[in-house]
């Protein structure tokens, strides 16, 4: 009875500490510390393997929620939010003892700690036998974060263990379940673009493929439009995917693509780079002797620097540069600003609904091949530019009118940060 009373007090205190802002039971902070406790190491895997698996498990939850997890091996134990450990039978002062090999393989306390039954044959992700420690860890972390069991096929929160699958990831419903507790991932982006790749089929036909990328600070995500999510394992450090670009991010991406030209540019601060697609790195020097990075004022006279964002419009072969409340249309053919520019963004891209307009300081201007439309992103919102399809249905729409805004996270899902320490596992 004393033990129960004490446990009940601890639970009550944790609840008061951790009640989310909305009143629902969840962690109220977004950065959570975890530790594999020294007295709870498994006898089956090396300590490094165990820590790697847990880092990956926490990162998987980070990739689908606004939560970030950091391994903390130094702070006092009471400051660690989630403690993990292995034990057998009576273990780690826990009231719920393990049963030996078989049946119960782990348990977790809501907003608390996770215990794994070391009598089970836990194995690393690379193994195809035993019980996947990664899968179990992801499941138990789900409990700690507030998710109950579900019997939905494919859910990571099913109570029974299913043997190794070739790949297991958080499906749509699991993602929405955790976001129901902690909200969707939001945040502004530096730039968004579709990256074009040209290939040939075995029969010799030319194929053009594209992939969608979101960039924020020094990270990027590949967004899989068909699956309505980012690529598993993203974000990735920018310098890994884009060699030679500034490691802290870029302001804009422009792909000038016409019958005569095919050039990709990145802009940052007062400079710009041209990217060589063939060998996947920035140009060092142009044939005419110009070395990169070059000054924006040199390559695009009349365009201010730094810029907010930019995109290339194939309809009129202009690059539209955005800065503050103004937009600068730059003629690629004439290598100069188009007549009458700069103009207020509101004039070139008028609001369809009065008052619903980003005004200025656009974060990203993005032409999407998936949607066949231009989007202007600012903060957590975006405005779609009314194209020919919309104007055919509603002829009264102004040319390049901005349709009423929507939330970025309701169009492109689950683009979530991870803790910087988790970028490299």
């Amino acid at each position: 009875r004393r033990k129960r009373r004490l446990a009940s007090l601890v639970l009550e205190r944790r609840r008061r500490r951790d009640l989310g802002g909305s009143g629902s039971a969840a962690f109220s902070k977004t950065v959570l510390r975890w530790r594999l406790i020294g007295e709870g190491y498994s006898s089956q895997l090396t300590v490094e393997e165990q820590r790697y698996v847990f880092r990956l498990a926490f990162r998987m939850w980070s990739e689908v929620s606004p939560l970030e997890f950091v391994e903390d091996a130094r702070s006092p134990l009471e400051e660690v939010d989630i403690k993990l450990g292995f034990g057998t039978g009576r273990h780690l002062g826990c009231s719920q003892k393990f049963d030996g090999t078989g049946q119960e393989f782990a348990h977790a306390w809501f907003l608390g700690d996770i215990h794994f039954d070391d009598d089970e044959h836990f194995t690393a992700p690379s193994s195809h036998s035993g019980i996947s420690l990664l899968k179990v860890a992801v499941h138990e972390i789900g409990h700690v974060l507030g998710l109950p069991h579900t019997y939905r096929p494919g859910s990571i929160m099913q109570p029974s263990y299913l043997p190794h699958e070739s790949s297991f990831e958080m499906d749509w419903m699991d993602r929405k379940a955790i976001q129901h507790l902690y909200g969707a991932c939001k945040g502004r982006f530096d730039t968004v673009f579709d990256w074009i790749r040209k290939e040939k089929t075995p029969s010799g036909d030319a194929i053009v493929r594209f992939n969608t990328y979101f960039l924020r600070d020094g990270w990027y995500w590949l967004y899989e439009n068909r699956n309505n999510r980012t690529r598993y394992g993203d974000p990735v450090a920018l310098q890994i995917g884009w060699h030679g670009l500034p490691s802290d991010g870029v302001d804009a991406h422009v792909h000038v693509w016409s019958r005569k030209r095919d050039a990709v540019y990145f802009f940052k601060g007062t400079q710009f780079w041209r990217y060589r697609i063939e060998n996947d790195q920035v140009f060092i020097q142009e044939p005419d002797g110009h070395r990169y990075p070059r000054m924006i004022s040199e390559g695009f006279p009349g365009v201010p620097a730094p810029i907010d964002t930019a995109f290339y419009d194939r309809r009129d072969s202009h690059i539209y540069f955005f800065k503050g409340t103004l937009v600068y249309a730059f003629s690629v053919e004439g290598s100069s600003l188009a007549r009458g520019f700069p103009k207020p963004i509101r004039d070139v891209f008028p609001p369809v609904e009065r008052g619903d307009h980003p005004d200025g300081n656009i974060d990203a201007a993005y032409f999407s091949y998936t949607h066949g439309a231009i989007f202007l992103l600012k903060g957590t919102r975006f405005w779609r530019v009314a194209g020919s399809r919309e104007r055919w249905r509603r002829p009264f729409l102004p040319r390049n009118g901005l349709l009423p805004h929507k939330q970025v996270d309701q169009q492109w899902f689950d683009i979530c940060n991870v803790h910087p320490s988790a970028l490299k596992l």
């Binding site: 719920q96 393990f98 049963d99 030996g100 069991h149 109570p159 790749r197 030319a206 594209f210 949607h371």
Partner: protein, 218 residues
């Protein structure tokens, strides 16, 4: 430590005493159902021990099992004035509760709902599983697991938009334009264009065919 000789521990030997007791009969099945919340505790305090202790705690269950093994009968009903061991009674209500819980377990496990402790149910109960109960008795505890195929989230406009986007509109725009999983493709319709470098955006044709592609590995 457990005994092993191979470098990769593949020959590790687990003594029989370290094996989890199998669920072999109705009584153990009832313990299982109690432990994981399918049967609500009958004679128990309201304040449960932590969130996952909505069922009988280990002390009680261990004691119960030990007494059974010793051959001592234990009454699970409310304490009567008489002390000492009693015959194990199962009231009709308790029996109904057990059958009802068994059916619930069979239903959520995708088994034939017989209400009987059959082989399939026994096998399911002996599978590896998480120690957290499936059902909570604490009103403040997280929501009980969904027992239907669809999760019980309230649909809001944003959810509809999301599900629509996932289920229909996004796919339809993709089918109109391009098709694909990880890397979207645009088939260039100009068959005499053999120079990929000269491929221009004007010569796109949209192919609505699906190129099926499995999920990429992490």
């Amino acid at each position: 430590e457990k005994l092993f000789h191979n470098r990769d521990h593949s020959d590790v030997q687990t003594p029989p005493s370290r094996h989890a007791p199998a669920v072999a009969d109705e009584f153990e099945a009832e313990l299982f159902l109690s432990r994981y919340g399918f049967i609500k505790p009958v004679d128990w305090e309201e304040n449960q021990l932590l969130d996952s202790d909505a069922s009988f705690p280990d002390d009680f269950l261990d004691d119960l099992q030990a007494r059974i093994q010793e051959g001592t009968s234990v009454s699970r009903s409310r304490d009567s004035p008489q002390s000492g061991p009693h015959e194990l009674h199962k009231s009709q209500a308790e029996n109904q509760a057990f059958v009802s819980a068994l059916k619930e377990f069979q239903r959520v496990s995708g088994l034939p709902v017989t209400g009987a402790f059959d082989e399939a149910t026994k096998e399911a109960m002996n599978k590896p599983r998480c120690g957290v109960p499936d059902k909570k008795t604490d009103p403040d505890a997280p929501v009980e697991p969904e027992t239907s195929q669809t999760d019980g989230f309230n649909e809001t406009d944003s959810d509809n938009t999301a599900s629509d986007a996932f289920g229909s509109s996004a796919n339809s725009s993709e089918d109109d334009a391009f098709s694909f999983n990880n890397t979207e493709s645009l088939l260039v319709g100009v068959s005499n264009d053999t120079n990929a470098n000269a491929t221009s955006p004007d010569s796109f044709s949209y192919d609505g065919a699906n190129t099926s592609q499995g999920d990429a590995a992490r």
